[in-house]
């Protein structure tokens, strides 16, 4: 028996699905999003387009403007690929997307990231001593440009101590840098841009008026203390900590049957089960 889609909160979903849905709910109608061409950021924006934000538009790093992708994409083939670029309004290139972002046309960027610090700086380059024996990663790719040029940047990462660090070992993509007022502008970045939210499966963070990471919402199946235990530094706390949203059956249905049919992105991490008594079970993978 298949479950009937509905707009009711679902009772079984993965942590990743919850994270994607919470980002989707942030998507503003009539705004532009520079996103990676695949994975969670893409699913979040498409999910939003199918519901509350049909006029949100997304652009990928290869200059693909507002496509209607032929999903599911082939593995890895998230850009410069026929399915990903299907029915776009324009096919450009990387310099075009960079230019559009540089003149301020990109409202939001959504990024998956490895490591973030209290000022929203992102590391995707190296951990440990950069010039010594540290571990190396892929590099920023398009993330540096997204984080520098979009008006607001939304990060997606996991709630783990090693992902939320006091200072990233390497600033691959800029957050508020050293956190001081005007630090981005002094570094040559465009005025009034910067980090906006960080969304994990367990929590939503914003930034306080001092540009410091601030805990704003917590998933119903964890406590604030559990979230804080999975951070290497203390975020500011919002005056009132809200509760993260729960995916609806409709949203899960779209996610599972249209967007990520192989579950490569969404079927990762723990399953969350809402029990009949409204308590929660976390089924670790």
């Amino acid at each position: 028996m298949t479950s009937q889609p509905s707009s009711e909160p679902a009772s079984q979903f993965t942590e990743r699905e919850a994270q994607i849905v919470n980002v989707a709910h942030m998507v503003e109608n009539g705004k532009t999003y520079w996103v990676a061409g695949g994975g969670s950021p893409l699913y979040a924006i498409i999910l939003a387009k199918r519901s509350a934000a049909p006029q949100a538009q997304y652009i990928t790093e290869d200059g693909c403007i507002a496509p209607e992708p032929d999903l599911p994409l082939d593995p890895i083939m998230t850009m410069v690929a026929a399915k990903a670029g299907y029915r776009a309004l324009q096919w450009g290139n990387m310099n075009a997307s960079g230019m559009h972002a540089q003149v301020g046309l990109m409202d939001y960027g959504i990024l998956n990231t490895l490591q973030v610090d209290r000022w929203g700086n992102v590391n995707s380059t190296a951990t440990g001593d950069y010039e010594g024996e540290g571990r190396r990663f892929n590099g920023p790719g398009g993330a540096d440009s997204i984080a520098a040029l979009c008006w607001r940047t939304i990060l997606m990462t996991d709630q783990q101590k090693r992902k939320f660090v006091d200072h990233v070992d390497f600033v691959s993509s800029p957050g508020f840098l050293d956190g001081s007022e005007g630090a981005r502008e002094r570094a040559g970045l465009p005025r009034n841009t910067g980090p906006y939210k960080v969304v994990t499966p367990w929590a939503v963070f914003g930034y306080d008026s001092n540009r410091h990471l601030r805990l704003e919402e917590v998933a119903p199946w964890v406590t604030k203390e559990q979230v804080l235990a999975e951070m290497s530094f203390e975020p500011t706390l919002a005056p009132e900590i809200g509760v993260m949203e729960i995916p609806t059956e409709d949203e899960l249905n779209t996610l599972r049957t249209e967007l990520d049919v192989r579950g490569q992105t969404s079927d990762v991490g723990a399953w969350i089960i809402r029990n009949d008594d409204r308590s929660w079970t976390i089924a670790a993978p």
């Binding site: 083939m77 029915r87 096919w91 290139n93 310099n95 190396r136 540096d144 440009s145 040559g188």
Partner: protein
């Protein structure tokens, strides 16, 4: 007269900036005549890729990139290359495993055990981003020594780069400038080219036009060789003009295991095999199987992939809108 303050500078070396020298190379070496530039892949790589070159390529091993040309570079055991790793994914790993790469300007690449080992063995990495690298190529393609850019500032990449932070003489605000990049050679895979090197690329891309204009030598591999009459019938479709091209290689499935939009889908199995080889630190075996064991690309495609699979990949490229003129 007034001065412009330099507020900060990256500390690492970068490919030398010499717009006038590049112009003189272009004057003396780029052929303006419509003469055939068609040749086999082996000859093209032998003649136009040299040990010690700064090597750029457009797109990557999976996404309309010059996979066949990259395999041929590895097959010919080119050495000491400085690799432009914008949007590169696995390509720089393969070039490093093949002993070809000495330095990599990184935008994005697939890390793995190969990287730490290569660093310990002396590989040099310079940290940029994809857009910074395409902007550097754009500067090179414009014949200017640098371009201003609004990103890259404040990153640690900046510190390990050739960028500078200056006081903009027009606004007084801090502004990042990045040095032009004029590669010695670039490899570009396209859907269609004529025998002279007039190229058509369909679909999104990275910066193939800038890459071609900025490079001293340019090797084109093309899925199809089309008649020049066809080029002249629709000149708006031409993206690279012949006079910057040194060699045209007819290379059907030249992006295998990747996709060429409109022509064939990616071979998911073949794609994931590269990632697995990186993750399991088995790149040597991968190169043996796909590169060294074969005299040329055709032999590799025949022996390892097989016509049946190639036909299936072709059949899977069902989206044609916008990809054929």
């Amino acid at each position: 007269m007034s001065v412009i303050q330099v507020l900060a500078e990256g500390t690492l070396d970068f490919h030398p900036v010499d717009p006038d020298g590049f112009r003189e190379y272009v004057r003396d070496h780029k052929r303006r005549a419509l003469e055939p530039r068609l040749m086999g892949i082996r000859e093209a790589v032998e003649r136009f890729v040299q040990d010690g070159d700064y090597l750029a390529y457009d797109c990557n091993f999976f996404m309309r990139g010059p996979s066949a040309l990259l395999r041929e570079v590895i097959r010919q055991r080119k050495k000491d290359l400085w690799v432009c790793g914008k949007f590169t994914y696995v390509d720089s790993a393969l070039l490093t495993a093949g002993g070809c790469a000495a330095k990599i300007d990184v935008g994005f690449q697939m890390a793995g055990p190969w990287l730490r080992r290569a660093l310990d063995d002396g590989l040099k990495i310079y940290e940029y981003s994809n857009v910074v690298m395409t902007t550097r190529l754009q500067a090179g393609s414009m014949g200017v020594p640098f371009l201003p850019i609004r990103s890259f500032g404040g990153t640690d990449g900046f510190k390990y780069s050739g960028a500078k932070l200056i006081e903009d003489p027009y606004t007084g605000q801090p502004l990042v400038i990045v040095p032009a990049l004029n590669p010695d050679v670039s490899l570009i895979h396209v859907q269609q080219a004529d025998q002279y090197g007039n190229c058509r690329v369909f679909g999104t891309g990275i910066s193939h036009v800038e890459c071609a204009l900025a490079s001293k030598r340019v090797i084109i591999s093309a899925e199809e060789i089309v008649d020049t009459e066809e080029i002249r019938r629709d000149p708006g479709r031409t993206t690279i003009p012949y006079y910057v091209v040194d060699a045209v290689v007819h290379a059907p499935f030249g992006c295998y295991p990747g996709e060429v939009q409109g022509y064939y889908a990616s071979d998911s199995e073949g794609v994931l095999e590269v990632f697995a080889s990186i993750g399991r630190d088995q790149l040597d075996a991968y190169l043996q199987k796909y590169v060294y064991d074969h005299e040329d690309e055709q032999q590799m495609l025949d022996r390892v992939v097989g016509q049946e699979k190639l036909n299936a990949l072709k059949a899977r490229a069902t989206i044609k809108d916008g990809y054929h003129p």
